[in-house]
């Protein structure tokens, strides 16, 4: 009997422990390779080279002549590209929202730009935007024989180019997401709208878009997070410093001016700024998506 009881409690403890054993590696891994580096960055950012508490590092970042432009450029890119991409994608999704022959192929094609590695995208536009590039060639074939010097324009022109490239890369994907969302809306919901006297616009405004809300929120916030981190395309097209943005500053200080004492601090400072901004967006997303709201899908 004693053995049986011992057995039972062993089996009990063992089966209770299984889930914890399964998640233990993740917890350990995150502690080592996520929490530790993040805390280290935060901690280091408040210390000077002698190890004393200081706010000097932040002061240095804020007084970097490129700091304000970097924040401004990042903000402009985020606001414009997310808005533009979202509106265009919604428009396209509503136009395309039906099953058609070849739709699965089309959806795959639409996914390609987003799937491409940043350097491949860089290669694409770098070869396109030079004076002899394919974009001017294409225009030539279309009858515009004057070469356009794409990358020689003002800062605003460059920003516009970046936003357009980003739009090319992102609109198709956002469109797919919204399409998926649209197709999840029960047909009856919209039909009911028409039956009760709505026209296309009212049904769109009062039924379709509200029902699409959670999809829209997800798409917009996730886009926001990646838009904040755009940098590589600018460096490839225009080099460092020409159109500074936050992540570009990190790489710049780490890679291009590694000799300086302060370069690590500067890079860290920018890292923290990016992290904080992204984290706020991420928290916003998690709040919107209901990740705070307990486990709705827990096992019965």
């Amino acid at each position: 009997m004693a053995v049986a009881i011992g057995n039972k409690s062993f089996r009990n403890v063992w089966s209770k422990a299984i889930p914890y054993l399964l998640i233990l590696p993740v917890v350990v891994y995150y502690a080592l390779f996520w929490v530790r580096p993040v805390l280290k960055t935060v901690f280091e950012s408040f210390r000077d080279t002698a190890g004393q508490f200081t706010l000097q590092n932040y002061a240095m970042v804020f007084s970097d002549p490129d700091f304000i432009p970097a924040v401004r450029n990042t903000a402009i890119i985020v606001v414009f590209s997310v808005t533009l991409e979202f509106l265009a994608a919604l428009f396209l999704a509503i136009l395309i929202n039906r099953k058609f022959v070849g739709s699965s192929f089309f959806l795959f094609v639409a996914m390609v730009p987003m799937a491409l590695p940043a350097v491949a995208v860089g290669a694409m536009w770098l070869t396109g935007l030079t004076a002899h590039g394919w974009l001017n060639s294409l225009l030539f074939y279309l009858g515009v024989s004057k070469k356009i010097y794409w990358l020689a324009g003002s800062e605003w022109a460059l920003l516009a180019i970046i936003i357009i490239i980003d739009a090319w890369q992102v609109i198709p994907s956002v469109m797919i997401i919204l399409l998926a969302g649209l197709q999840n809306i029960p047909v009856e919901a919209e039909e009911a709208g028409y039956v009760f006297g709505g026209n296309f616009i009212t049904v769109l405004r009062k039924i379709t878009i509200p029902m699409l809300q959670s999809t829209i929120q997800t798409a917009v916030i996730l886009r926001l997070i990646s838009a904040i981190q755009i940098w590589l395309i600018m460096v490839l097209l225009m080099g460092f410093n020409r159109l500074p943005v936050l992540v570009e500053r990190i790489v710049y200080y780490h890679e291009e001016v590694p000799g300086l004492d302060i370069s690590f601090q500067m890079a860290s400072g920018y890292t923290i700024i990016v992290s904080v901004i992204v984290s706020i967006a991420a928290l916003l997303y998690l709040k919107v998506s209901g990740a705070f709201g307990g486990n709705q899908e827990a096992r019965q």
């Binding site: 889930p19 399964l22 998640i23 590696p25 993740v26 917890v27 891994y29 995150y30 390779f33 996520w34 580096p37 993040v38 280290k40 960055t41 136009l95 395309i96 089309f106 390609v112 799937a115 491409l116 590695p117 940043a118 350097v119 491949a120 860089g122 290669a123 694409m124 536009w125 002899h132 590039g133 394919w134 060639s137 294409l138 090319w168 198709p172 994907s173 797919i176 969302g181 999840n184 959670s214 997800t218 798409a219 996730l222 997070i225 940098w231 590589l232 490839l236 992540v247 990190i250 780490h254 890679e255 860290s268 890292t271 923290i272 990016v274 992204v278 991420a282 990740a291 486990n295 096992r299």
Partner: protein, 354 residues
């Protein structure tokens, strides 16, 4: 009947417009990619013409005649519809090298000698054709770019290790999420989602020192440890949804019919989860393969393939076609794997719930 005809005509027009629209959109999406592909097959001479040819020539038409310094080599230009002189030399070696590397249509010295013999015997000018070596740029990219091949191998190593780490660690947690209720479930779910969105660059920088202390700085394993942070989060999410899709009763049935818990997992759940696990692996691959910032920060003498391409592009003023070949070599695995996991990417972006 009579009434039906006009409506069906309207329908045809409508659907034609629709398909035109969709096709235009598709073309617009693929246009830059098309030019990158095309450019990567252009010879250096073609790549520096303006306008750029839309498609690479498959062969080169040469003509040979007498010149001031020896022989005059001309190449037929499709766009201008004429032969254009490119070289005036008596050195056959130089001529052959030029044909191989600049025109991309190699022609051996003995063959050139034969053509010269024809010229000397009175045929003036001599016309001949050579087949183009379309893969020349790729060949050159890997030969000329310092480190391209070892970098490619390193990138594959890194991706492989990232897959192993994130699938084993993330897969276990995904299974726990799918099958068990445990204390801290919500907290873990939250952190996994949060980590997924956290910028990788923010981990890369402090990891320089941490990895250096571990002896992993500038090593493939170091980068895969960093990539695994984000990729574990993704894997947990993907595998959790895969395991949730496999009814628990399948495992229970196996247990009732004689299997241990572990056997039940191995014989029932695991084979059923394989396609999903493969997708998770491809996701991890893509993450590691495409990433640039952390790779730039965390490597020095042993860059990844992405970094090599990045560096080539930074200094690419002289070699657009080589740069295109490098960029495309980068893009091909990504596009292929994306094709396989497109379903998951969609789910990922539309309303994410673990």
């Amino acid at each position: 009947m009579i009434k039906k005809k006009p409506t069906s005509l309207a329908k045809i027009i409508k659907s034609t417009i629709f398909y035109l629209f969709v096709t235009t959109l598709g073309v617009g999406i693929l246009l830059p990619a098309f030019f990158l592909v095309s450019l990567s097959f252009l010879s250096t001479r073609e790549a520096y013409q303006f306008p750029l040819p839309l498609l690479p020539a498959l062969s080169a038409k040469y003509s040979l005649t007498f010149g001031d310094r020896g022989y005059l080599l001309s190449v037929y230009d499709d766009f201008d519809d004429e032969y254009q002189t490119v070289l005036d030399t008596a050195e056959l070696e130089k001529m052959s090298v030029y044909m191989r590397s600049q025109i991309g249509a190699p022609y051996d010295i003995p063959d050139i000698e034969d053509r010269i013999a024809e010229l000397e015997s009175g045929t003036d000018p001599v016309y001949f054709k050579a087949r183009k070596n379309l893969l020349l740029n790729y060949d050159l990219f890997f030969k000329v770019t310092r480190d391209a091949v070892p970098a490619l191998i390193r990138s594959l190593q890194i991706a492989g290790m990232t897959i192993v780490i994130s699938l084993s660690i993330g897969g276990m947690a995904g299974y726990a999420f799918a099958r068990y209720v445990f204390i801290g479930r919500d907290a873990l779910k939250f952190s996994v989602l949060f980590v997924r969105m956290f910028p990788g660059v923010a981990i890369a920088l402090p990891m320089v020192i941490i990895l250096a202390n571990m002896g992993f700085y500038d090593q493939p394993i170091g980068l895969s440890l960093v990539y695994s942070v984000g990729s574990i989060a993704l894997t947990v999410w993907i595998t959790a949804s895969i395991f949730m899709g496999i009814p628990e009763s399948l495992e229970e049935a196996a247990q009732v019919f004689g299997a241990t818990k572990f056997q039940a997992f191995l014989k029932i759940t695991f084979p059923l989860a394989l396609p999903g696990l493969a997708a998770a692996a491809m996701y991890a691959f893509l993450g590691a393969w495409n990433e640039t910032v952390s790779a730039i920060i965390l490597t020095q003498f042993n860059p990844t393939f992405a970094v090599v391409v990045y560096q080539t592009l930074l200094g690419a003023v002289g070699h657009v076609n080589l740069a295109a070949a490098g960029g495309l070599a980068m893009a091909i695995p990504s596009v292929i794997f994306t094709f396989f996991i497109r379903r998951y990417i969609n789910q990922m972006w539309g309303g994410v719930t673990v």
